[in-house]
Symmetry: D2
Subunit: 412 residues, 4 copies
Amino acid sequence: MPASETVELAGHLLDSGLLSRIVDDVGEYGADFSFDSFEVGRKFTDESRATITVSAADSQALARVLMRLQTHGVNLVDPGEARTREVEHDGVFPDDFYSTTNLDTAVRLGSTWVDVEQPEMDCGLLVWDDSGRSRVRTIPVSEVRAGQRVVCGAAGVRVRRVPRLQAGDKAFEFMNSQVSTEKPQALLVRQIAEQMRSVKADDGRILWVAGPAVVHTGAAPAMVALVRAGYVDVLFGGNAIATHDIESALYGTSLGVDLAHGRGVEHGHEHHIRAINRIRGCGSIRAAVDQGVLTGGVMHALVAHGKDFVLVGSVRDDGPLPDVYTDVIEGQRAMRAQLRDVGFAIMVATMLHSVATGNILPASIPLVCVDINPATVTKLADRGSVQARGIVTDIGLFLEQLAVELVPGFRD
Amino acid sequence: MPASETVELAGHLLDSGLLSRIVDDVGEYGADFSFDSFEVGRKFTDESRATITVSAADSQALARVLMRLQTHGVNLVDPGEARTREVEHDGVFPDDFYSTTNLDTAVRLGSTWVDVEQPEMDCGLLVWDDSGRSRVRTIPVSEVRAGQRVVCGAAGVRVRRVPRLQAGDKAFEFMNSQVSTEKPQALLVRQIAEQMRSVKADDGRILWVAGPAVVHTGAAPAMVALVRAGYVDVLFGGNAIATHDIESALYGTSLGVDLAHGRGVEHGHEHHIRAINRIRGCGSIRAAVDQGVLTGGVMHALVAHGKDFVLVGSVRDDGPLPDVYTDVIEGQRAMRAQLRDVGFAIMVATMLHSVATGNILPASIPLVCVDINPATVTKLADRGSVQARGIVTDIGLFLEQLAVELVPGFRD
Amino acid sequence: MPASETVELAGHLLDSGLLSRIVDDVGEYGADFSFDSFEVGRKFTDESRATITVSAADSQALARVLMRLQTHGVNLVDPGEARTREVEHDGVFPDDFYSTTNLDTAVRLGSTWVDVEQPEMDCGLLVWDDSGRSRVRTIPVSEVRAGQRVVCGAAGVRVRRVPRLQAGDKAFEFMNSQVSTEKPQALLVRQIAEQMRSVKADDGRILWVAGPAVVHTGAAPAMVALVRAGYVDVLFGGNAIATHDIESALYGTSLGVDLAHGRGVEHGHEHHIRAINRIRGCGSIRAAVDQGVLTGGVMHALVAHGKDFVLVGSVRDDGPLPDVYTDVIEGQRAMRAQLRDVGFAIMVATMLHSVATGNILPASIPLVCVDINPATVTKLADRGSVQARGIVTDIGLFLEQLAVELVPGFRD
Amino acid sequence: MPASETVELAGHLLDSGLLSRIVDDVGEYGADFSFDSFEVGRKFTDESRATITVSAADSQALARVLMRLQTHGVNLVDPGEARTREVEHDGVFPDDFYSTTNLDTAVRLGSTWVDVEQPEMDCGLLVWDDSGRSRVRTIPVSEVRAGQRVVCGAAGVRVRRVPRLQAGDKAFEFMNSQVSTEKPQALLVRQIAEQMRSVKADDGRILWVAGPAVVHTGAAPAMVALVRAGYVDVLFGGNAIATHDIESALYGTSLGVDLAHGRGVEHGHEHHIRAINRIRGCGSIRAAVDQGVLTGGVMHALVAHGKDFVLVGSVRDDGPLPDVYTDVIEGQRAMRAQLRDVGFAIMVATMLHSVATGNILPASIPLVCVDINPATVTKLADRGSVQARGIVTDIGLFLEQLAVELVPGFRD
């Protein structure tokens, strides 16, 4: 039986491509729509406001297109109350579970709007009672347990679009436009430096996600300087960045590059596996630092300055290092636990861990992705990290210049 | 104290770039060498033979450069006997453990040469007594247990270079040359088809490693046809290929593409997480097939035709599907268990799982890597899979043409 | 002195990102705007209509932003009459010349709207008297002569947006979305074949723009089959495609590839320069065919079937072949002369000649660009060829499959 | 009738992959070979020496394979005397003309070895009498005139391989290895700076070949600083770099980027064509500087400091600027005329002009190619510029850092 609902959206609708995406999505889900009203601001700075009736073949199809539209910040005019259902089996949501966006979200339980804790995309919404007060947080499907209650259907859920960057962010805003190698890169570096200083001034934490190219491009000293200067609060990565960093510290080499002499080889072969074995013998990276085995490099700097890191393994890993989470679900859990107070995230030269971090980051945390490969940058935005800004550039020179900007005396 | 050893190598030394690599490696390890003899074949088809003395600062440095040279098939003239040492701690090799290549390897224990079982790179060599007979196999560092004995140092180990492709493989051989998009692709497809027929005629198994682009490019029907026709014995992949294949079967969509109508969207959003939830509810992919929930696509075809698959997760996974190994070490173990009788491996459109498979494959198994991204193909060879042949092409058209070659009536 | 004008636009404004681009451009030119009216269609298929007042610092700045907006099909509500000015120096327009778009354009001279002949972007508008009737055509700056009259300012010029693809083009439409390697490629090939059949059924001509990868990928036989079957009316290219095609016909090789045996070398070296010398000795490609020197390949097929080709040289050419225009302005002129009746343009594997052709093609001619490099495809659209649809795929397999679709018996 | 000749080669044969290439080429040309002698140096620093008999089906086939082998520095043991033939038709060589390499070459005329002037690949060898003394220089096929004499066949021609980089160049040498994005980039910048200082100290000229990305990435100020400091003696480029540089100077924009504010648009549209028109009105770039129209940017700096530039057009050009050679043969001639005393060539962000320059540069001039696209770098080496060293990096940051290294006070 055909069903319809009226939704509304407001904001800078004209200059954001938002309407195109909504039209596309409605078509994609085989639904239909009509405009009930459309008020357009007269000036560039004015907001527009639209009311749209969306109709679909049945209420289930309708619920799904409404959830989809919420990823764009589109809410029901009359949201009603949220419905919850009890989970029957561990690790399985009810069929009509509400699938989350990464936007700020609120759920109406009874007559109260409750803010969702830890916004994250592609999760369910867990509702629980905390001393008589209802609370709601996101929960991944693998974590849900029988007996818990999750929100089902699209009713009673409201999201808030990420606000446009404000006038004060003007300079930073231009990264908004498409990924491009043809941009004034030196200017970009300065803006990111400015952003980092501002986050630190507000006591925010800076999250780095980094791949082994940081080591291969000779940028480890720049990264170490940034750690020492306080611009790296937590690092997410895999076995590779830590291994090659440690290999470089122990043997002066890193997969294919003798950094001191700049000579390249193919596969470093046994250097890296021997480095891993050495650290396994120590028990952990921290232990290797404490025992005086590991005395330099990025991992050493993180340990020495009391910074956090989460290393999550992948199927291509050798070893791995003892600190690496070999279970990816446990790894995701450890990453989530480090998101508190993060005010800025920067991803350099890793597609796997960048996408993984994009998956769990709220859209409200500014995010810059730096890679020489445009595909990495594009992929992140395509997968729903709408706040992602991309810079296609060389990691080695980028980090060196960032250190020059942020760390007095770095080049001297 | 300076130490030196004499090594020898034989084969088609002149036309393989082998000598350059040996010279590079000796330099890389800070060692030195001199030629004792060099006999060159008069004709193209003749083999050459060289004897070289390698010297290094001390015996430990020498042992390491000798191990490195073994990755090129270079052996000691006088290999002596292998030395073994007992492992002291779980998951940690002795410092001077022999680090393996992926070549056919033998170890001299007492006066006997024992063939190494399951050649794999970057492992140790486990020696054990099997009813009075010494056996040797590769063991990854994470699997080794205190009390086991592993080979240490370079003495007593001999490797065998992968033989050049023979005259009969002439046509196939040209893939030998560098990665290139500018090659007669249609010819390449025919040669791979020929290779697959020949492996099946010898009762060999064909291993596929595939990424989700197989689904996104609309090539799933071609892949299903290849499964049905018996050209897919085992599939390695991640959560993504199975999820998008199943999403496509359940909802007719796959991350960004409505395959029937060819319309694209950004992130499929809740389709894929709902597909995962559905299969989690069934218990497994096989259960979903048995319950009639999953009735089409690549995963269905594998189950329906009794073929094996190993899905290993990564940190960027949603869900995951219940069949996915979330612990990557367990996943590697499951992959190793499927290598028996594999006579040909083909990797399509996945860098992560291709490199992971390259890590555990013996160099004796022919391997073709197909990807639109040249970097994937290059990376595999750079990491030591010397037998890898690369084809830079479009996966969708490649699989369609391969199915046309191998499956009578596919296009009709 | 501030100046303002009112413009209007109509069509599928919501789902095309058009409004975003207009807002961006107005900002880019330091101008301002306000909405006077905005009528939105209720349904997906309804058109919207907007009236906007644009204001700028002075009338010259206003004229320029208005010209810019015309590239998006935005016209003045009250266009007034066009003003023309006499050209003072050969090859130099007056300062305030009207710079054209590639859209269908009309100019009001006196009270009459005159259609512009040969729409082309980045030109001037030449007005002349033809037996008492005013005519207007585009003219490149290098062709204009002192004494000619060209339109100046934005008044009196009206453009027509390329209409959205119609319902009947539905299948073809999805290429509308972003460039992607992850699309059902086989489906795309079939749709292009369908488009070509339809153009030929309407007596339209098909324009090909092709690079040497057509030869290197072994696709020349497919291309020859398409020429013979009548699907190639005119070919634009450079010295390279013709040289490597002829080299292949004369010596069986093409830059780095022995196509019969599939063996690769680096630079074919003297083969190609000798092939060029040979044809120079004959006098022209046609003469080489007539003299029995050239008996196969794409160029031979074009000559044998009376098809046209325009080869325009570049600074990296060896030789060149006698048919190659070494003066690029003359080459552009020869290309323009071949655009009559072209109903479909397809560009394969060449960035230089694709962009060159995009520069002179009216936006009304459908255009597909096929390349393994996404950048080529993106560049074309970025430079103003809004009608361009991109396919990122392998040229060799693409042409083979296109020939299978269009040429009965091709694979037999 | 089968024919054979004995050739010899000497040098660092083992570590250069040279033997592999020779074996490949002999096979490619359907010829055969046998080793007569092979003396290998005992130590890394010793040279090796080989004598090889090459045989082919007939003397013509033999001559061609011998010419091919000369590209690798392989000479006849008994070179005999060169044979010359008179050119019969303008622009056409005799069929068996000697096709040149870019190596230092000498020709035996009578009993005298005459050095070839202006080594360049893919040319003929023109022999003429200069006051009783025979001289020889390269001549492109398009320049040769009836009645001139050119060398035919392989006899009497000797080439000299580019010597390996010497001990002093050790640091620079590592760029020798493969193209890679994963190298210590900051180190590379310093080495190039060192190389430039050294060339200037020897009164050598530095040749730059640059594309418009220099402007788009915001690197024009760095480039201007390098011009002022004397590190740019001559610039080769196309219409695009000069146009976008001038557009930027006149309007503060450059194709898609407002450099001051960092905002991007699609196609700059009429800005660039208006900039071109403006300079056409002035008569030339120099005239625009003299008239005070052009007051900043790279082209202004070149004119103001009396540096040379050669701009050669292409078929995709708008305009073009009055200084642009529209005839590519004339453009090549102008480029050749600027090669005198060039001691170092650097190519940044342009494939077309880099390959064009590679075509005419002697192999003896060191050459570095910098591009974010690995394909540009690879292509250059593949086409015969064996001395080319590649750096895959971001042009914007690269030039900024190079200016920091070379121009005191640049960043202050």
